[in-house]
Amino acid sequence: METAPATRELLDLIARSSGDEKHDASSFSTLDVIHVLYEVLRVDPRNPEWEERDRFLLSKGHGPLAYYAVLARNGFFPAEELERFMTWEGILGAHPDRLQVPGVEVSTGSLGHGLPLAVGVAYALRARDLLEQRVFVLTGDAELNEGSNWEAILHAGSAKLANLTLIVVDNRSSNVAMGDIAGRLRAFGWDAVTVDGRDHEQLRAAYEHRADAPTAVVARV
């Protein structure tokens, strides 16, 4: 079981950030999900572009403070940068920019882009014979309203992209009833499971699970 200090440390980092967004629920919904993910991901903060790393694409670019806090805690950039969040002098915007923030794989904010990108990355790793490397992409439940996601879900399931894992942070923010998200993903050929998005053991087990199809972790928070 994950110890509380790590989570507290992340909350302290978020509290250091400038502006009011640190009080928004969206800044915390992904906290445990991303924290545990970075315990599983093979990445090197000293060499963010290490070719043999696992890739993580935060598709849901909104409320990125938890993501920034995890990156800072893992050493991708100094924690002091959080004090310049959303300011003219800083590199940390309200949506992450891969060309400014070390460790950020893709610039996001407009919803429905990360999953198709992740499918392309999954294909590209396979084409480079990087067969052990994995691609994780995180969306929100409401983000799945966007049709581009379902194009990519259909394609990845059909292509059996087993190096791809979709994490859906389900905080029931969708105004369209999403029903059983894991069940819908399974209908598209994915190996999908629903877990408690605050339970580190469940999250870790779900991330480490491999299948001969793309996998999905629906994390309810």
């Binding site: 060309l99 610039s107 429905g112 198709p116 294909y123 480079r128 581009s148 990519a152």
Partner: protein, 292 residues
Amino acid sequence: MREQAMATVVDVFERDEEVALIMADISLDFLRPAVEHDPRRAINVGIMEQSAIGIAAGFALEGFHPIVHTLAPFLTERPLEQLKLDFGYQGLGGLFISAGAAYDYGQSGGTHHSPGGVQALSSIPGIEILLPGSPGETDLLVRATYANGRPTYLRTSVVENAAPVELAPGGLTVVQRGRDLTVIAAGPFLSRTLAAVDGLDATVLYATTLAPLDAATLAREAAQAAEIVLVEPLYEGTTAAQVSAALAHRPTRLLSIGVPRRFIKHYGTTEQHDRDLGLDLHGIRERILGFL
């Protein structure tokens, strides 16, 4: 042009292991050799153009040179935000090759027309836009740009010029020099434009790169006379702002000739549409003579 583009794509795909090819259920027969050569980087995504662009950008994130192909409206207008954000904003390069330009599919109705595609793409900072006028130019431009590191759009068309042109670097080529008028003819509209100015003492510049327009060549080669005519197989005025900016240092009168900004409701050949839209050589000549 389309067949040449596909043949060249297959050739660069087979020669360069860094090329990835993304198809959206179009031109599959032409591109099958690439799939047979290396199916790991030749992907037919199906009929999903938003994801076609996103998946191509995923390849680009990993250092590949993606080439994406489908019909013009489904490549330029439907996934515009993907082109803008997944390529432009991310700082990634990719080559996007369309078939079925403007009203090439003259019997298919407005769903398959895209005279506004280039204007839509022009809103993406840093994009390169290419309008070859012959198969040979298409081959040259595909090879020259597929690995240029920028989002690049190459528009093929069933309309071709009567003869290929030896292209100048920069994409604006001097075809003839004159004193009374400067005419900029884009892509496959060169031949009819040359015929339309027959007998006039006109400088004719041939534009195969519309973005960025070769402003230096235009400023240097434009005739002294103020009259400037832009002829392009796109919505009227698509490139006018770039022409005006290149000539801002001198007096000009600019006439933009292009596809009128209305939906096309007739079904017919491209020649029939040309006549109806005032874009055959007679229509173009009448507009120019009236302007002068």
